[in-house]
């Protein structure tokens, strides 16, 4: 363990939520994913000190948290950009032209898959089927769906985000 690890703490609000979460299960370890999801929302990614803190909280050894952290693709071990773009690459989206959208995103952002723009604003990833196949091609930005993508629509989304608009959570087909 790195001796220089900083002491990290959940916010009051998150601590309250965690106390509630723990009442849902007969076993503390079950709070693993809920707490990891909460930690990611709070800290952006799960650093080593966050991992150690969660292990403490759940009375587990850090490797038990680490093996979970590395198994689930939505959990980030490393920092990502302010906006995490996750474009679906699976069949229905590919049939609807997701490769074009990917090319366009790469070109507009000037980065490749898995990379972050130098200003720290955007990280680009491709992901597997998002259950948006009827509104393909689809992507998520920080968990919000954007569907029926075209080049023009992507331009508008990127411009809005750059201007500071926040991604809005909406039901299927409405974004």
């Amino acid at each position: 363990m790195n001796p220089e690890t900083k002491k990290v703490e959940f916010s009051e609000k998150a601590q309250k939520e965690i106390r509630e979460i723990l009442t849902h299960y007969p076993d503390k370890r079950s709070a693993m994913l809920p707490v990891l999801n909460l930690a990611q929302a709070e800290f952006g990614h799960i650093s080593e000190d966050v991992m150690v803190m969660i292990a403490d909280l759940l009375d587990l050894t850090p490797p038990k948290v680490y093996e979970v952290l590395t198994f689930y693709t939505l959990l980030n071990e490393k920092p990502v950009g302010k906006y995490l773009i996750q474009l679906c690459r699976t069949l229905s989206c590919a049939l609807a032209g997701s490769e074009n959208i990917l090319g366009h995103l790469k070109q507009r952002l000037g980065i490749g898959i898995g990379e972050t723009t130098p200003d720290g604003l955007f990280t680009l990833k491709t992901v597997e089927c998002l259950a948006s196949c009827g509104t393909a091609p689809a992507m998520q930005v920080n968990g919000a769906f954007y569907e029926n993508l075209t080049r023009g629509k992507v331009d508008k989304i990127l411009d809005d985000l750059k201007r500071g608009a926040q991604p809005v959570l909406k039901p299927m087909g409405e974004n």
Binding site: R29, S30, A31, N37, V68, F71, L95
Partner: protein, 436 residues
């Protein structure tokens, strides 16, 4: 043909926003009242057994029969889990049911929990459904405030608590035992079966896992009865409606709730508006990425469990992906093989190693470096995976390659011989899988 909607009735009602008040206005939570009053748990299990309701998550197992496997001793704690992991490529029906009519699902879970005697239920929802989780959490809070959930629901001394459990990105967690591991705070590695979850499930206790759509059927079966339910659909073994998620090269992709057993052709041409640009159909996947590709010659097959099995595929998750005549089958199969190779959990070697070999060979063929012996090699590897793995993922991942090789071997051979694709270039707008 227009058909009566059942699970989609509320959400297709203009102005319906899925709130508790909306749901109650359209007759919501009458089924649980009726069940608590008129049926003992064993009678409710019997009712669902007689209805013939089969699982909508993939395997099509009869729901009532699954419930009946649980030990009868009421002193044993048992759990209910709703599988809302919906990650099977081509499938997006559960997402809509969750986002648009969350109380229908909650009432369905209450009925299932009451029938099996579970006091606690978990909804395992895939991590990507951030909006869906928000909607469900709001609905759970509403239902608890209104006395539908909690220690003494509707004054019946029955206790039911439901909790939302968000995943974090892993297709395999849709497999029911991986789902249980995931709720327990572990990596989502499928367990060896037996023992089955009905005996040894969550925290080692008897557990029922049912899909969102399966559970959402329950209020309707209780309200309208077994006779009514059986009267929908064409075959005695596939009663009820089915929500098909239609995507790919169709004019109106979307979720369509229809009686089980309508012809595939009707689903594509009447419900989903036919194929874009009046192209011909080359291939259809009838039940999610784990189901074998069908050719145009199977379009008259009935969309029920038995008929689809007879033509060599499966109804699976109800995800229907349509590919037109320009689509390259090698590329389509490679796309799905890449999905499976990415999603294997790595627990058993045939699946872990095999999936990466299959992707490598498929990429080689697709990129014009294929060798004559590659085609037989693909089949050999597939045969060493099928039936030899811990979970059904192994059988699923070989379906795209084996079925495309069977129906379109000449396309594979062309790739190997000519070092390119025989499917046409489809121009800018429609680009996708047809273009190289």
């Amino acid at each position: 043909m227009k058909y009566e909607k059942v699970l989609h009735k509320n959400l297709e009602t203009p102005g319906y926003a899925g709130s508790l008040a909306d749901y109650e206005r359209l007759g919501g939570y009458l089924a649980i009242r009726k069940a608590l009053k008129e049926y003992a748990p064993a009678q409710l299990i019997d009712l669902v057994k007689r209805s013939g309701l089969r699982g909508r998550g993939g395997a099509g197992f009869p729901a009532g029969m699954k419930w009946d496997f649980l030990p009868k001793d009421p002193a044993i704690t048992r759990y209910l889990c709703c599988n809302a992991d919906e990650s099977e490529p081509g499938t997006f029906k559960d997402r809509q049911l969750i986002e648009r009519d969350p109380h229908q699902l909650i009432e369905g879970m209450m009925l299932a929990a009451y029938a099996i005697g579970a006091r606690v239920g978990y909804i395992y929802i895939r991590g990507e459904f951030v909006y869906g989780a928000q909607v469900l959490q709001r609905a759970l809070t509403e239902a608890t405030r209104a006395g539908y959930l909690g220690k003494n629901i509707l004054g019946s001394r029955t206790e039911i608590d439901l909790h939302l459990h968000r995943g974090a990105g892993a297709y395999i967690c849709g497999e029911e035992t991986a789902l249980l591991e995931s709720i327990e705070g572990k990596r989502g590695l499928p367990r060896t079966k037996p023992p089955f979850p009905a005996i040894h499930g969550l925290y080692g206790k008897p557990t029922v896992i049912n899909n969102v759509e399966t559970l959402s059927n329950l209020p309707h079966i209780v309200n309208r009865g077994v006779e009514w339910f059986i009267s929908i659909g064409s075959s005695p073994k596939s009663p009820g409606t089915r929500i098909f998620s239609v995507s790919g090269h169709v004019n109106r992709p979307g979720n369509y709730e229809v009686p089980m057993g309508i012809p595939l052709r009707e689903l594509i041409y009447e419900q989903a508006g036919g194929v874009r640009n009046n192209k011909r159909i080359k291939a259809v996947i009838p039940g999610g990425a784990s189901a074998a590709f069908l050719t145009e010659s199977s379009l008259d097959v009935k969309m029920d469990f038995e008929a689809i099995a007879q033509v060599g595929s499966m109804l699976g998750s109800g995800g229907v992906t349509v590919m037109d005549e320009d689509t390259c089958m090698v590329r389509a199969a490679l796309n799905l093989m890449e999905f499976f190779a990415h999603e294997t959990c790595g627990k058993c070697s045939p699946c872990r190693e095999g999936s990466s070999w299959l992707v490598q060979i498929m990429r080689r063929i697709e990129h014009g470096h294929g060798r004559a012996e590659d085609l037989d090699q693909l089949v050999r590897i597939c045969n060493n995976i099928g039936g030899k793995t811990v979970c059904a993922f192994g059988d699923a991942e070989i379906a795209p390659i084996l079925s495309t090789l069977k129906h379109w071997r000449s396309e594979y051979e062309y790739h190997v011989k000519e070092k390119r694709c025989m499917a046409g270039d489809r121009g800018e707008e429609l680009v996708g899988i047809g273009r190289h």
